[in-house]
């Protein structure tokens, strides 16, 4: 009994090895199925149907994701990568005093060296551009209030918009994509800082955000036709994010002004139901990947974050 079993096992092993060898030879066009079968006359009967089935699999037309899906999902992931980093940075606030001291020393050195001045007009393609971004980080670390940080973020978002226009002129597609993301990121941070404010500060900053996002959309629209093809998806996405940011800022501002008119209203009105953008993103509320058909991302309390990971960071919480 054991002997029979061992013999069968050995035969199977031989067949599996022969199959593996033939699959490799046929796949790389070194031999035909017939050539390979003639190598193993004793196994031919068993080997032939296996190789025929393998040939059918290999001859099946390749299935590929659509280019539109690839671009849309890539953008959503990039957006998702950026957001938690900002959140993580926010968690470091207890160390802010130390950072401020270090930052003050750094800024002093930079100013003395004259590098800072030279970098203020640096474009993303310039070797001084990282210095410019470094100085911006230092300025943020030195800011002592949410309002001051929000104002800085707005100023930086304006800068990115100017840089974007220059990069479009230079047809620098990679830089265009990076800056388009940076515009959304800076604007998103400005929204975050504004969220914590109240009173006149909030009113003023919301007004600035309305104007900022309005200008962003105009510029993004204007440069779209002149941009290289490979950068267009990023511009379109940035425009969409900005449009929704504009709507939210305008809505929040309206809410504040209406409450000023009606002081008896203690709580803000329920926000209106979000509407889908007109056909620019394929599925959901800027949530590429979750079709209403399957709707499975948030079942069982799991997967909500993942399935909605591409959600626009500008509209996660009320302003």
């Amino acid at each position: 009994m054991n002997k029979d079993f061992d013999e069968k096992e050995l035969k199977d092993k031989k067949l599996e090895d022969a199959l593996e060898e033939c699959l490799d030879l046929v796949r790389t066009n070194k031999e035909t199925v017939q050539d390979c079968l003639s190598r193993y006359p004793n196994l031919r009967e068993k080997l032939e149907p296996l190789l025929r089935a393998a040939v059918i699999l290999q001859a099946t037309p390749s299935v590929e994701p659509s280019p539109e899906f690839r671009v849309r999902t890539r953008q959503a992931l990039i957006e998702k990568v950026s957001v938690p980093a900002a959140v993580a940075a926010r968690r470091l606030r207890p160390r802010r005093l130390l950072m401020q001291l270090v930052a003050a020393a750094l800024i002093f050195l930079l100013i003395v060296g004259g590098i800072a001045a030279a970098s203020t007009s640096a474009l993303p393609t310039s070797p001084l551009y990282p210095v410019k971004l470094g100085i911006e980080k230092v300025q943020l670390a030195l800011a002592t209030s949410d309002a001051a940080r929000a104002n800085l973020r707005i100023r930086f978002a304006e800068r990115r918009l100017d840089e974007l226009q220059e990069m479009v002129k230079l047809k620098e597609s990679r830089a265009i994509q990076r800056i388009a993301n940076a515009i959304n990121k800076e604007t998103g941070e400005a929204f975050e800082e504004t969220r914590n404010l109240s009173g006149t500060d909030k009113d003023v900053l919301l007004d600035k955000l309305v104007n900022l996002t309005e200008r962003q959309q105009a510029v993004l629209q204007r440069v779209y036709d002149k941009a290289p093809e490979e950068a267009k998806a990023a511009l379109l996405h940035a425009q969409e994010v900005s449009r929704r940011g504009h709507e939210r800022a305008a809505e929040a501002l309206r809410g504040i002004r209406e409450r000023k008119i009606k002081p008896e209203e203690k709580f803000p009105a329920k926000p209106p139901v979000k509407r889908s953008p007109p056909g620019q993103l394929k599925k959901g509320e800027g949530t590429p990947g979750k079709s209403s058909k399957s709707g499975h991302g948030s079942e069982n309390g799991r997967g909500t974050e993942n399935s909605q990971g591409s959600r626009n960071f500008l509209d996660q919480k009320p302003l």
Binding site: K13, E16, E20, L50, R52, A53, S294, N306
Partner: protein, 184 residues
């Protein structure tokens, strides 16, 4: 992509480097999409699941270590679990058909399989009748292009076991395809 480049991209992606994660996505998106498509049989579901896989990978990449499994095996395990979750949700689908159930009708004499091109849908339907492990091996070998060694890492078995699964899978597919040709 060579090993060194892959390690560099993964390390940068772990530090939330946007471009590195984008490059990993570009490199793996087609394979993950093909894997999910041949598992679930719907292009729309495959798109949803592919995105879900990368979002989960993004969440988990900080915990990835090279000591356990190669990066591709790690990523395809996420894909496998995502597909399993999908099947759990899609209760209408009867997923697993045991190998014994796919025995072809008795035929008289040898039947030559015609190596005609079958559509993706026909092939997917045939694959869906294999056992779960057999499906993994066939899809990863013939449609994703992974090596036996990578597949072994992925399913947690030896290369010898992968060869045996491949043998059984092709045997079953041969019977299924002969059966479907006989039906026509």
């Amino acid at each position: 992509m060579d090993e060194e480049k892959l390690r560099e991209l993964v390390e940068r992606a772990k530090n939330r480097d946007v471009e590195a994660f984008g490059s990993l996505y570009d490199f793996y998106v087609s394979g993950i999409y093909r894997y999910t498509y041949y598992r679930v049989g719907s292009k729309e579901d495959a798109e949803d699941l592919t995105e879900e896989v990368f979002l989960k990978a993004l969440e988990a990449i900080g915990r990835f270590t090279w000591r356990e499994v190669p990066f591709s095996a790690w990523l395809y395990r996420i894909a496998r679990n995502t597909v399993v979750d999908h099947f759990r949700r899609e209760t209408r689908r009867v997923q697993v058909v045991l190998e014994e159930d796919v025995m072809a009708p008795e035929t008289t004499g040898p039947v030559e399989l015609v190596a005609a091109k079958l559509s993706q849908e026909e092939v997917q339907r045939a694959i869906s009748r294999l056992t779960d492990d057999q499906q993994q091996v066939v899809i990863l070998k013939f449609f994703v292009g992974l090596s036996n060694s990578d597949i072994a890492n992925f399913i947690g078995k030896t290369e010898g076991a992968v060869k045996a699964l491949q043998h059984r899978a092709l045997e079953s597919l041969s019977k299924i395809l002969r059966g479907s040709q006989g039906d026509e």
